[in-house]
Assembly symmetry: C2
Homo-oligomer: 479 residues x 2
């Protein structure tokens, strides 16, 4: 987990600012939930691997003492401390856990506040989540998710609007090479069943598939074998997907994305034969990409039949936004429809669909590509520094700083009487563009000596004109 | 811990926005640290009670298994599970902990990044902290602190500037009845020693004193007795303070605050006789209030000899900002000088001083007093809602929504084709001021029917003028 020094925070806030602005322009409203959730709220929502990665908070005081005593008794009675005991101990020692994503807390909030929320609740949420994962490039144990979700409708207009909003954010940040990949849990189910893989193995199969970018084809096969998923079924499936992808890349130069998607859809419809659920998933995807043609003439949207997404709560369309970098795809975010999750927290099933942008990934790529505007990358802590001449003039300097602030400047005051050279050296080190000197002569004359640190110009200015001179200097510098 | 629905988040962001703006106008820069710290970083910094209130995170995987095994062995060897064992178990089961305040993480950051930070580092930080405390009015287990700290100088100009900044924030938020209370750890030390209380009992005495607003005088005496602090010394001290306070309230109508402070200072100087450290503390306080006269002609600053502040890391001036409500003081924040804390994380002692505003307290009082501006309290999720006529016109509605957004409006789209009555009912429920209807006639004619929901006016508008009509309507509504 990392500290963010001022220059980092400014870059993060710049990106978050654009994300908020776009989400709000689509009518999404802000929601915030606590970092800490009851452990039962989180466990069982993210699959077995997710359970392991949740940070758990130790019980406190009497409750902890109780558990410890219980366990001592058990051990004293001769039960051994093998794995099942440990797992039990882990869950009995903790009662709270750190937020693992923003979707499960949203589902809890919607279920608990049904009557206070509008029929269609459109919310965004930009907060950190925590996973006890191994850190990697752009992956951290504390990271921010920028989620946007629409609750209450099964219409594919929701998916289309989420794709619009997220695409607009990336465009405003300066990305022009992103690709939206779509798949559908019902299509995946259709392919798996048509390939002869039984339903109880589907979750495992999807989780393995979701790692396709991180591990080799050999490792994938080994994982399938470990989970007793029949390899002939898997092979049939992978062969089908490879055939589609090969054909698609052969035709890439002649076909539009739309034509390519249509062709994939046709081939897929043949493969699914009369698997009704799979075909209905395909139908939904077609609706989504038809609507997204309103976004631009040639939207960068493609079916991606190996897209699975690891989380177990998705039920419909699943989406990911990728950047192509060399031979790799970098995912900047993803999401999908989860019509069953809210019902796990309340009596009513409420349909929902959402998208999550990963702030850290976006920042890493923007940094590498030098995409931050100069005023963010080179920002300074203040517009001007006011010096302190000696102990007797402190009050005068405080007053000058206060006057300049009232006129809208950001003013930092050197915190003590010191040699003027040292004060200028400090001003240089924090890169403020202007320094004001207020010595005994200036005080007597009602003037201030203003020095422009980048040009080296220094001149005596009437006190009431100081703010104006600095503002003009800043503007001319920007030009 | 609480969820914040949209109206709550908007209020929080309004207050945070003003706090950031003022801190930045003083040249403070943003810093963010992770929610999770190593447990050793936090333990021992907040006193014994603080240690208990830190949320601790369970070790994971192999590390946890190791500890559990070790403990089973110990229990099997016949050691019992009394309190010391539990405490040991608590600390051995956890390796991480949730941030308890923003000052200790800052000290760690400064010690670790000495060479990357300016000589005087002025930072602000607005993030949540967590304490396993009993919740009360305006006190929660997750709450935001809005901290501002200046690192690197021992000058009292720092204290004065912090008081300026925090006062300006409260004034901008609309508070006009706050009072800044000052005391000094060296004065407290002087009073305690002069009262015959030995140095090793000072920490306990200050912690008990810090509860004076929460418990009765009898309970305070009982706590002193429990800690074996000689009651005759305590009585001498409390009598002295009561005498001062009585005299002050008698003179309240005739004296300015400045005169009253001066009189307290004189009486205190007599009491401290030649306790040099205590007198130097008093001298520092006098400097602070002299400088704060630059803030206003009659700054609301008073010496408060019973102010102790619970945290153990303070070494110099301590400060609190209170509101008077009936017979109670509500503290909106506090701070002080901690010249020894950073040295606990690095080789070098670096002086530091800071102030922390409690966001939750501020929000509770602003809510009770109705201090939020109307545009925050009554804000809506969007400026306009676009309806959907039928399944064939979805693309047209998407396009209209997108056009209006491009012209700077916040636009929400009804997410599905539905009866128009239902769509209007929804628009009413989320309180959008305008609704656009785009039916087949409108599409054919290149118009949009715009309805103003508050006046009930409805008229046909040329498509390219829709945004303008809505903006004008919003302005006239505000007037």
């Amino acid at each position: 987990m990392r500290d963010f020094l001022p220059v980092d925070v400014r870059k993060r806030n710049y990106v978050i600012g654009i994300i908020k602005e776009v989400y709000e322009s689509y009518g999404f409203e802000p929601l915030e939930t606590p970092a800490v959730e009851n452990i039962e709220t989180l466990l069982g929502k993210y699959g077995e691997e997710g359970n392991q990665l949740v940070f758990k908070i130790l019980k406190r005081g009497a409750k902890l003492a109780e558990v410890a005593e219980l366990q001592s008794d058990r051990v004293a009675e001769g039960s051994n401390s093998e794995t099942p005991q440990h797992r039990n101990s882990e869950n009995s020692l903790a009662d709270l856990a750190l937020r693992y994503d923003l979707t499960v807390p949203l589902a809890r909030v919607v279920a608990n506040n049904k009557n206070d929320l509008p029929k269609f609740f459109k919310r965004y949420q930009i907060q950190p989540v925590w996973r006890a994962d191994r850190p990697a490039r752009g992956r951290f144990r504390e990271f921010y998710q920028c989620d946007v979700d629409a609750i209450g409708s099964k219409s594919m207009i929701v998916e289309a609007e989420l794709i619009f909003a997220v695409s607009e954010i990336l465009t405003k940040l300066g990305f022009d090479d992103f690709m939206i990949r779509l798949n559908h849990r019902k299509i995946l189910k259709g392919i798996l069943e048509t390939s002869g893989i039984k339903e109880e193995l589907h979750t495992d199969a999807l989780i393995i598939l979701d790692k396709r970018d991180k591990i080799t084809a050999e490792e994938i096969r080994a994982e399938f074998e470990k989970k007793h998923i029949p390899l002939d079924g898997v092979d049939r499936w992978l062969k089908f997907v490879n055939r589609i992808n090969k054909k698609r890349s052969e035709n890439a130069s002649e076909q539009t994305l739309r034509e390519s998607n249509q062709e994939v859809a046709n081939t897929l419809a043949d493969f699914l034969k009369d698997h009704q659920e799979g075909l209905s998933g395909l139908d939904e995807l077609e609706k989504i990409w038809n609507l997204s043609e309103q976004l631009s003439e040639e939207p960068h949207i493609g079916i991606e039949l190996l897209l699975a997404r690891g989380l177990s709560y998705y039920t419909g369309a699943i989406m990911e936004i990728d950047l192509r970098e060399g031979n790799f795809n970098i995912s900047l975010g993803g999401g999908g429809r989860y019509d069953g999750l809210i019902g796990m927290f309340g009596k009513e099933q409420i349909p929902a669909c959402g998208f999550s942008l990963g702030l850290e990934r976006i920042l890493v790529v923007m940094e590498e590509r030098g995409m931050f505007p100069a005023e963010i990358a080179e920002s300074t802590p203040a517009d001007v520094m006011v010096t302190i001449w000696n102990d007797d003039t402190v009050a005068d300097s405080l007053k000058l700083a206060s006057e300049l602030r009232e006129q809208g400047l950001r003013v930092t005051l050197y915190p003590e009487a010191d040699k003027l050279g040292k004060q200028f050296k400090y001003a240089d080190s924090i890169k403020v563009p202007f320094v004001c000197v207020l010595g005994e002569t200036e005080i007597a004359e009602g003037t201030v000596t203003v020095k422009n640190l980048s040009s080296g110009d220094q001149r005596s200015v009437e006190r009431r004109s100081v703010a104006m001179v600095i503002k003009e200097g800043e503007n001319s510098h920007q030009r």
